[in-house]
Each structure stands twice: as structure tokens, then as C-alpha cells.
């Protein structure tokens, strides 16, 4: 009885997680499938239809009269309307207003007396008694069942873009230090706010919370002014990597301190007290006890800070510049979209190219989010 109740509960857990995962993944799955599709199809049919055979209306242009051949005294243009071997024609026509007027195998007589036949496998023939003239080929409209087809063209286009490698390195150069330095600085501050009593501590905590809300856009102009001033004073350029690292650190610190302080405050008081009794200083306690114990929190913040700096466009554009050599990966990909921001096929592919590094970071840090670091200690505080 109890056993069956247990197992039905376990089943319930599995099912609900599965449901949530599906809900959360469907949008991304749509993007993934879209990124593998032909770009003209993206705007025409839903991505889920790409998985199965679909009925499509195609417009094909036959070769022009220069391709005609004489056969049995007649003039013939032939070819195939389908470029996908698994596809099947279900109807065809020669006027766009009636694209499905004829069955495959039937013969349609065009307005100028030419005769058009399209077979089920897509082979077509235009036959005329007199030599065909004109500059353009006949349009043939077919209704065809087309099996799913995927292409890596979109990825190829993105990966072959000029300067993408340099931008990739720029992005790493921005993101790695911008992730690690703030963590270190924040960890010390968080410890002070969590475990070192001093006047004004609660006010400082509140200030940190308050600073979380400062809109980034408000800071850009005053800061760039400051950078320009400092740069001119020192004879250095204003837009440098050091500048952007510090900017990312400044913007990331409130959240880092807030999260880490919360985590550290939850650590058992007894550990620290027993260490103090043993004569350890705050510095020792922090380095030898708090830091290792805070690994899950450090790792989770590192994941987010890396994500933000990696995916950031605004700060990089403002503090690093928009020149060809300064572009980070996001900037490069956005520029690929062209001045009017169309080209969704590029967006879809580049979204997956940019996601790879953050996912690697997530995977490698996820193992630090482990249980049991505190095992054996008594929960306090």
C-alpha cells in the first residue's frame, strides 16, 4: 500500500517535471528547428510543420526559350519542378490565380497554344508546334507534398562571417575578467555585511538593495564622460578593456553582494565561533571557512554574471566602441542582420551559436551546486 503510494508519487514528480520541461523547451525547440530551415520557409509555414511532410504551393520558372529542343518536329522544353527527391506533385497550373487547376499527368493548354504537362514526380514538358520566343521561361505553379528538409546554410552563413573569430575572442576577453573580479570583491564585502558587526551595517545592506534598481541607461553618459576625462588626463584611450571590466564589475556588484551576503548569513554561526575561539582572524575565517562553504553561491553567481557580460551589447558598444576591431560577438551578429534588421534565419542560427559558451559554463559550474557541503554541521542562525 505504502509502496504503491510512493511509486505513484514518484511518477507524479517525473510527469510534472516533464511537463514543465516541455513547456519551457518548446519555444527554444522552435528556434532550433527554425535555424535549420530554409529561410524563405520561415515566414511561410510554422516551424512544427517542418518535421513532417507538408503540402506546399510552389512557383517554379521553367527554363527560357533558349533551352528548347526540337523533337519530332515539335519544340520542347523539359525539366523537373521539384528539387527535393521525396516530393510528389498533387496538382499544377499555369496561372497564379488557379495554381491547382490540373491533375498530374494532365495536359494544360497555355494561352499561346503551348501545352504543359507535369508528372507526379515533378517532370514537366512544355511542347509547342512553333518555335517558342521571349526572354523568360513559363511560370509553373505546383501543389506538392514535400517531405521535411533541413539545411545548415544558416549556420554556415553566420560562421563564415568576416571577423567572427576576432569578435569571439573579444567577447571572451570581456566576459572572463568581468566575471571573476567582481566575485572576489563581492565576496569580501558580503562577508563583512554578513558577519562583521559595525555601525551602519543594515543601512549599507539597504543601499546595496537600492542600487540594484539603478537603471543602466542613466549611468552611461556620466560614466563615459568620466572615462573621457580620466583618459585625457592620463593620456590613455577612454575605451579600453580595463574600462569595460570595471563597468561590468560596478554594475554587477550589487547583485553579487546581495546574493552572497544572503548565502553567507545563512551559514551556521557555530563554525565561525569555534574558529574564533581557536584564535582565527576574520581574514582566516573568510578564506579558510567561508569561501569554500560558499562555493555553490559563488558558482551560481558566476553563471549569471558570465551570462550577462557574454550577452551584453549595450555596455560593450558604449565602453568598448563600435569599430570593426572592437565588436563583441553580440555586436557582430546584430550587424549581420543588415540595416533594417530582417534576416531571421541569421538570428536563429546566431542565437544557438552564442548560447554554446554559456551552456558550457553552466555545465561546468553546475557540479559545484552540490549538496552536502554543510553536511555534519549543525544548522544555526
Amino acid at each position: 500500500m505504502i509502496a504503491s503510494k510512493r511509486s505513484s508519487l514518484v511518477l507524479f514528480v517525473h510527469l510534472s517535471v516533464l511537463l514543465l520541461v516541455i513547456l519551457w523547451t518548446i519555444p527554444t525547440a522552435g528556434l532550433l528547428i527554425s535555424s535549420l530551415r530554409d529561410k524563405d520557409q520561415l515566414a511561410v509555414s510554422g516551424w512544427w510543420t517542418a518535421l513532417s511532410t507538408s503540402s506546399q504551393n510552389l512557383t517554379v520558372r521553367a527554363p527560357g526559350p533558349e533551352a528548347q529542343q526540337q523533337r519530332d518536329g515539335k519544340f520542347v522544353i523539359s525539366g523537373n519542378v521539384l528539387d527535393n527527391p521525396g516530393a510528389k506533385v498533387s496538382a499544377f497550373g499555369f496561372r497564379t490565380q488557379e495554381p491547382a487547376a490540373f491533375e498530374p499527368g494532365q495536359t494544360a493548354t497555355l494561352s499561346d497554344g503551348e501545352r504543359l504537362t507535369v508528372q507526379e514526380d515533378g517532370a514537366f514538358e512544355i511542347v509547342s508546334d512553333v518555335a517558342m520566343e521571349g526572354s523568360r521561361g513559363q511560370r509553373i505553379f505546383v501543389q506538392a507534398a514535400v517531405p521535411s528538409r533541413f539545411t545548415f546554410d544558416n549556420y554556415r552563413e553566420v560562421l563564415n562571417a568576416e571577423g567572427i573569430g576576432a569578435s569571439f575572442i573579444n567577447s571572451l576577453t570581456v566576459a572572463i575578467p568581468s566575471t571573476i573580479i567582481p566575485i572576489l570583491v563581492a565576496a569580501f564585502a558580503a562577508y563583512a555585511l554578513a558577519w562583521m558587526p559595525f555601525p551602519g551595517r543594515t543601512i549599507l545592506i539597504a543601499v546595496v538593495v537600492g542600487l540594484l534598481v539603478v537603471p543602466l541607461q542613466m549611468s552611461l553618459i556620466p560614466l563615459l564622460k568620466l572615462y573621457n576625462g580620466v583618459g585625457a588626463f592620463l593620456g590613455l584611450p577612454a575605451k579600453t578593456y580595463v574600462g569595460i571590466w570595471l563597468a561590468h564589475m560596478g554594475f554587477g556588484l550589487p547583485l553579487a553582494i546581495y546574493l552572497l551576503r544572503n548565502y553567507m548569513a545563512g551559514l551556521p554561526r557555530e563554525i565561525m565561533e569555534s574558529a574564533r575561539v581557536d584564535g582565527a582572524s576574520d581574514f582566516d575565517i573568510f578564506v579558510k571557512i567561508i569561501l569554500p562553504l560558499s562555493f555553490p553561491a559563488l558558482a551560481s553567481f558566476a553563471i549569471f554574471q558570465f551570462l550577462w557580460t557574454w550577452n551584453d551589447l549595450l555596455i560593450a558598444m558604449v565602453f568598448l566602441g563600435t569599430g570593426n576591431n572592437e565588436l563583441v560577438l553580440t555586436g557582430r551578429l546584430v550587424n549581420l542582420l543588415g540595416s533594417r534588421g530582417g534576416n531571421w534565419e541569421i538570428l536563429t542560427a546566431s542565437a544557438f551559436i552564442t548560447i554554446i559558451i554559456p551552456l558550457i559554463v553552466f555545465f561546468s559550474l553546475q557540479r559545484y551546486l552540490v549538496r552536502g557541503l554543510l553536511a555534519g554541521s549543525v544548522k544555526g542562525g
Binding site: 514518484v10 514528480v13 514543465l20 519555444p27 528556434l31 527554425s34 511561410v44 509555414s45 510554422g46 516551424w47 575572442i169 576577453t173 572572463i176 571573476i180 573580479i181 572576489l184 570583491v185 569580501f188 564585502a189 563583512a192 543594515t202 539597504a206 543601499v207 542600487l211 540594484l212 534598481v213 539603478v214 537603471p215 541607461q217 542613466m218 560614466l223 568620466l226 578593456y241 571590466w245 556588484l253 547583485l255 546581495y258 548569513a265 584564535g279 576574520d282 581574514f283 555553490p296 553561491a297 558558482a299 549569471f304 550577452n311 553580440t330 551578429l333 538570428l347 536563429t348 552564442t354 548560447i355 553552466f362 549538496r371 552536502g372 554543510l374 553536511a375 549543525v378 544548522k379 542562525g381
Partner: protein
């Protein structure tokens, strides 16, 4: 490659410099006010002084950076908010008067409150559920990675993703938006989701919930795993079932973290603007404060005064959250 190598070197140098700062200042403090090996009164005096100074040594780099990057711009904003569009002529409270009479501003406040009510609650709720459930199944890590993915997708990518969900095509033609495809499959009329006032706010919120659940999940997952095993084991021995353990044992222990996640997402919602900018740009009555601010700041050369005034309002809205956090921290300290 050379550049990357230099980045690594700089990073190591930066980290070492940080470490050297913390270690060095700490050492100097101990040298100036030694407490070990001194006689009682002097030792305790020195200990008291160094204990008063040390927190500030720990805090200094963080405070310094935050002052430059955040506090200084805050003062700049407040100053700008009392000036005209060029930021040069003092206009007193004119920007604020204008703001409260502006229909778009009131609309934004209303929408922002909707966002504040819905997004933090849902994101935290889902994050908590997922964090708790995935702990109990063998494919939990895979599930977590999939839920985390939206966080990792750049915003440009996310806006395309949702285009493929919310896109609208006329009835009778093939839908390329998933939502309309589902709706039409059930025989209803397709809808232009982004244009339905009030409801469109919720469709936009869904995007942020979709993204932020990953954040809540990671943080809460770390917290759940920090719960000492003994407490759970004890409850199991006492015959508690899964739900009881979750609600009575685990939730209370991570309550602080839940509050932190909630606070963080709430503040993020106050600042939300790229979703709105990319999907509707505040049209069809979906305007929010941060996007309104952005609009006034930069569009067509910008009006810094009004932009800054809206920014000040955004910053003021956080005050209740600050007060609540002060209370929490004070309570916590009493507990210590």
C-alpha cells in the same frame, strides 16, 4: 589568441591584485594594532580598533566601485531631473508636474504594478518547484539545463523565439505562430495577441517568467542543497511525507533565499524594458516605466530632464523593498 592570452594574464593579475589588497591591508592592520601577545587591556583595545576598521577594508573596493558606477549616476540623474531637455537650464519640478499629468506615464505605472504582481511570484514559484522536484529524479540535471536555457539565450534570440509563438496570420491562412496554430486547431479564431489591451501585458510577462525561472531555479537549487541532511532525515524518521517535508522542513529553512530571489526579480521587473521595446515598444498600452524612460532619454536626441525624472521614480519605487530588507537584516542580526 595573443589577445586572449593577455586577457588571461590580466585576469590573473587582477585577481592577484585583489587578493594582495585584501591580504596586505589585513596584514598591515594586524601589524599596527597587534592583539596577539599583548597584555590584556592593550590587546582588547587593539582588537576593538582593528575590528572596527577591518569591515571597511573588506568593503572598500566594492563601495568604491559602486560609488563611481552607481551612486554617482544616481545623483547625476536627480540633478538632471530638475533641468530641461539639454540638461542645462534649471526648471524646478516642471518635469515631475508634466510626468504626473502624462497619460502614458500613468499607464506605465499601472502596467509596472501588474508586472510586479505577476512576474516575481510566478518565476519564483516555478523556480522553486523545479528546483525541488529535479532534486529527486535521475535526469534532474538535464531538466535543469533545459529550463536554464532561456537565460542563456541572448535577448535578440529570445525576441525571435517569441515571434514564432505570438505571430498572427489572418484566419484561414497558415499560422506560423504556435499559439495561434493551437488556437485554430481547436476551432477558434486566431488572435493578434500583441494588440489585445491588458492581456498583451500578460503575454509579455510570460516571456520574462520564461527567462527568469532559470535564475530562481539555480539560486533556490543551491539553497535547497545547503539544507542539512539531518533535518530532512529526522523528518523522514518521524514519518513525514514528501509534501510535509517540503513545506514544513525545507521551505522555512530557505525562506531567506526565497525572499532574496523574489526581491531580485522584483527589481529586475522595475527595470524591464528590452522585452517591451522589442515586442511592442509600449504600443497597444503595454508601456512600462523603464521603456518610457529609454524613450525620453534617447529617441530623437532625447530629453534628459524627463528621462531622468522617470528614472528617479523607478528608483523611488524600490524604497519599500529597501525598508523591508533593512527590517529583515535587523531581525537576522538579533538572531545572531
Amino acid at each position: 589568441m595573443q589577445q586572449l592570452l593577455m586577457a588571461v594574464i590580466t585576469m590573473v593579475a587582477g585577481v592577484l591584485a585583489c587578493a594582495a589588497y585584501f591580504y596586505g591591508t589585513n596584514l598591515i592592520l594586524d601589524l599596527i594594532f597587534p592583539s596577539k601577545g599583548r597584555s590584556g587591556a592593550k590587546a582588547s583595545r587593539n582588537l576593538r580598533i582593528s575590528n572596527a576598521i577591518r569591515p571597511w577594508l573588506f568593503l572598500f573596493p566594492a563601495l568604491f566601485a559602486m560609488t563611481i558606477y552607481l551612486i554617482y549616476p544616481v545623483f547625476e540623474s536627480v540633478w538632471l531631473s530638475f533641468h530641461d531637455r539639454t540638461g542645462q537650464t534649471f526648471v524646478g519640478g516642471a518635469n515631475y508636474v508634466w510626468m504626473f499629468n502624462d497619460g502614458e506615464f500613468r499607464q506605465s505605472i499601472f502596467n509596472n504594478f501588474l508586472w510586479l504582481l505577476v512576474v516575481p511570484a510566478l518565476a519564483t514559484f516555478f523556480g522553486l518547484i523545479i528546483a525541488a522536484l529535479t532534486d529527486r529524479i535521475w535526469w534532474g540535471n538535464i531538466a535543469k539545463t533545459l529550463i536554464f536555457m532561456p537565460m542563456a539565450i541572448s535577448f535578440v534570440g529570445a525576441s525571435v523565439i517569441w515571434k514564432f509563438i505570438y505571430d498572427y496570420r489572418a484566419a484561414g491562412t497558415e499560422q506560423i505562430g504556435l499559439l495561434n496554430a493551437v488556437v485554430t486547431a481547436f476551432g477558434f479564431e486566431p488572435q493578434a495577441w500583441m494588440t489585445i489591451p491588458l492581456w498583451n501585458n500578460f503575454f509579455l510577462m510570460a516571456i520574462l517568467v520564461w527567462i527568469q525561472t532559470g535564475f530562481a531555479m539555480v539560486i533556490l537549487s543551491a539553497a535547497l542543497r545547503g539544507i542539512p541532511e539531518e533535518t530532512v532525515e529526522a523528518a523522514v524518521i518521524d514519518g513525514a511525507n514528501g509534501f510535509q517535508i517540503f513545506f514544513k522542513i525545507m521551505i522555512p529553512q530557505i525562506w531567506g533565499t526565497i525572499a532574496v530571489v523574489w526581491t531580485t526579480i522584483t527589481i529586475l521587473v522595475l527595470k524591464v524594458f528590452d522585452i517591451v521595446l522589442a515586442m511592442t515598444n509600449g504600443q497597444w498600452q503595454t508601456q512600462v516605466l523603464a521603456n518610457l524612460m529609454f524613450d525620453w532619454m534617447f529617441r530623437g536626441g532625447g530629453d534628459f530632464g524627463r528621462g531622468a525624472a522617470i528614472a528617479v521614480v523607478i528608483m523611488l519605487l524600490v524604497v519599500p523593498i529597501m525598508v523591508w530588507n533593512i527590517r529583515n537584516a535587523a531581525k537576522e542580526m538579533k538572531g545572531h
